[in-house]
């Protein structure tokens, strides 16, 4: 037991105030480090900051791009929160996203003439189901054979890459391209955008819908059972909360979120299926959830910040002439500072024996 610090503030109060202070400290430290780094390679730090800001929020369009980047991160992260709180590490979002995107693509290409009002939801449902199924298997393996979900979900990612590669260089390959990519999707499968002049699509609203749901679930019977399940499976069994079933459902839920994100990626942005559909997003989403301290609002902020960093970082190449490697360093430094300073209180909750990801143990 943690004998070193036994203060009994509720984790919530402890994390909120301290989290904020830590965040600000982290920002200050990182700003200093990055400025020094940039000055070292002969780039004007102030100009870079300016370019970063205008790159991510400067214009309506760039804000829109930031939101676009944030959307799949947010959706997947929110769907992962319940399983992370229960201590399940579903790192299979890339594979689930890929299969979700695949299903959506197949549906859209098979039924290109359906009216938009039918085709769009059909693609969404298909993507969601495919993602859920992809995660269901690791869940099942975990529930029946205690197969470590980190490995099985990672395995599914590689399998997804192989399957997509096979289909996209075979039956699904577009006739016009010498690339592993599908035909382009019919226009009526496209997700509507909701901020004119940007590519920001209604997927963002879908993702945001999950916030109140999570918030409510926390206060519900379901949330309670998840807490018990995450804390002590033996106890859960005594309360007729079947750990196996919950494992499967939690994994499947994460997969459903990722599948939806895959659908959004093809239906709203790429309008084609590529092998690398989930490349930067899939893994990052898990960390967005952790950065957000497994709290729905925290996750919204984390996703937004991450989206801004990703998009703003890309635009630095043009805006400030900063090389992409430096952008990567910058992102890494920010994450590092945040991870060191802020997670102690936010993600670890009561220090010591609590599992680090089950911080949101509200009573």
């Amino acid at each position: 037991m943690s004998l070193l610090s036994l203060t009994h503030r509720t984790p919530r109060q402890a994390s909120f105030g301290r989290g904020l202070v830590n965040l600000l400290t982290a920002v200050a430290v990182v700003a200093g480090l990055v400025a020094a780094l940039l000055a070292m390679v002969g780039v004007d730090p102030a100009g870079t900051a300016q370019a970063m800001w205008s790159g991510s929020f400067g214009t309506l369009r760039s804000t829109g791009e930031t939101l676009i980047r944030a959307t799949p991160l947010l959706l997947i992260a929110l769907a992962l929160i319940p399983s992370l709180r229960a201590g399940l590490y579903n790192i299979g979002a890339p594979g689930q996203m890929a299969f979700g995107a695949l299903a959506s693509t197949v549906i859209a290409l098979q039924a290109p003439t359906l009216p938009s009002a039918i085709l769009v939801p059909a693609c969404a449902i298909g993507g969601c189901l495919a993602g859920a199924l992809t995660a269901f298997l690791p869940g099942l393996l975990k529930a029946t054979w205690r197969a470590n979900e980190i490995i099985t979900t990672l395995a599914m990612n590689f399998i997804a890459v192989a399957v997509l590669g096979y289909l996209l260089t075979g039956v699904m390959q577009s006739d016009f391209a010498n690339l592993p990519q599908s035909d382009s999707l019919p226009a009526n499968s496209a997700l509507p955008t909701f901020i004119p002049g940007t590519r920001t699509h209604i997927g963002l609203l879908v993702a945001l819908l999950a916030v109140p749901l999570l918030w409510a679930a926390d206060r519900s019977r379901l949330g309670y059972r998840l807490r018990i399940f995450g804390a002590n499976p033996s106890l859960a069994r005594q309360a007729q909360i079947r750990p196996g079933r919950y494992t499967i459902w939690l994994m499947t839920l994460g997969g459903a979120g990722a599948g939806l994100a895959g659908w959004m990626q093809v239906a709203a942005l790429d309008h084609r299926l590529y092998v690398g559909i989930a490349t930067p997003v899939g893994y990052a989403a898990l960390f967005v959830a952790l950065l957000g301290a497994l709290h729905p609002l925290g996750t919204v902020l984390a996703a937004l910040a991450f989206g801004a960093l990703l998009h703003g970082g890309d635009s630095l190449q043009v805006g400030a002439g900063v090389s992409p490697e430096i952008v990567q360093v910058l992102l890494g430094l920010i994450l590092l500072a945040y991870a060191i300073r802020a997670t102690t209180s936010a993600a670890t909750g009561t220090e010591g024996r609590t599992r680090s990801w089950t911080f949101w143990k509200r009573s």
């Binding site: 760039s62 791009e65 690339l179 084609r272 890309d314 190449q317 043009v318 992409p324």
Partner: protein
Amino acid sequence: TPGPAAGNGDGDAVHVGLIQEARPDVEPWSLSWHDSIESLKAKNPGMKVTETFDAYDATRAEPVIRQLLDSGASVMVLSTFVLTDVAKTLAPEYPKVPMVLTSFGTMQQPNLSSATASYLEIGYSSCWLLAKLAKDGQVGVVGAQEAPFEVESEEGCRLGAEAAHPGAKVTVVNSNSFTDAQANREQVQNLLDRGIDNIFLVSGTEDTVGGFRLCETAKAHCVTWGGDGRKWAPKAAVLTVELDWSSLLADLTEQARTGKLEAKSWNLTYGNKGLKATGIDEAADVSPELRTEFTTMLAGLADESISLPASKVHPGLR
């Protein structure tokens, strides 16, 4: 709304935006674009170039390209065919900016040109030399995947090797990745283990670095295409079929300057000096006689007296 007054700003100040799939330090393909634009810049000191290296998938590239266009880029060079969809979206939105995409196909927009190279000629000349260098006519080809350009290069390779050496045998292996240098090296090693030490590195992408290295230490011969392979294998790279994009780039900057846009379809061949044989003159293992013979062969390719089958990748072009 169309982009701001790009290209017809203050006279000569042409601003070229170049979207690369990787750093020129790591792969021959990007190096060829980089070198071409540098040589053009040397001739036009006022020219401004913005090169980006890390925005090569469609979703990420679009906003970056827009940002470039909005900040006044007057020529847009999309050096990877992954950006086809993006190009098709952006070209009508910025009708005054001449753009080029490495792709093949009919371009509907007056400001969107396409550019490619004759992979048959690349493969033919590469393997011709390798087959000559190999006493037994054994040539190895290390590719990444059976991408159409690789398949076509390999076909050219077979023709070239057979032309050079009656009993030539071409062995193709793939590393299955455009980025995995370790896998590429393994495949070269496999060829070396089979006694094949004249190798055509056909992928032209990041993975080739592994192959170059092994060729260099194993004193094998390797040939590649794109940018000068001696950057990675000073001795072993006996030949690079260099792609010279500078006349294309010059044409585009000219279009931007004059405002007279015309979509063209570029195909780099020996005939139009888009392909250049680099490195062979300095290669120690190539005898003067062989060098002469090679020059003759290139002339044959250039004047099309060496006939090649119809290209499958870009029908109608060589």
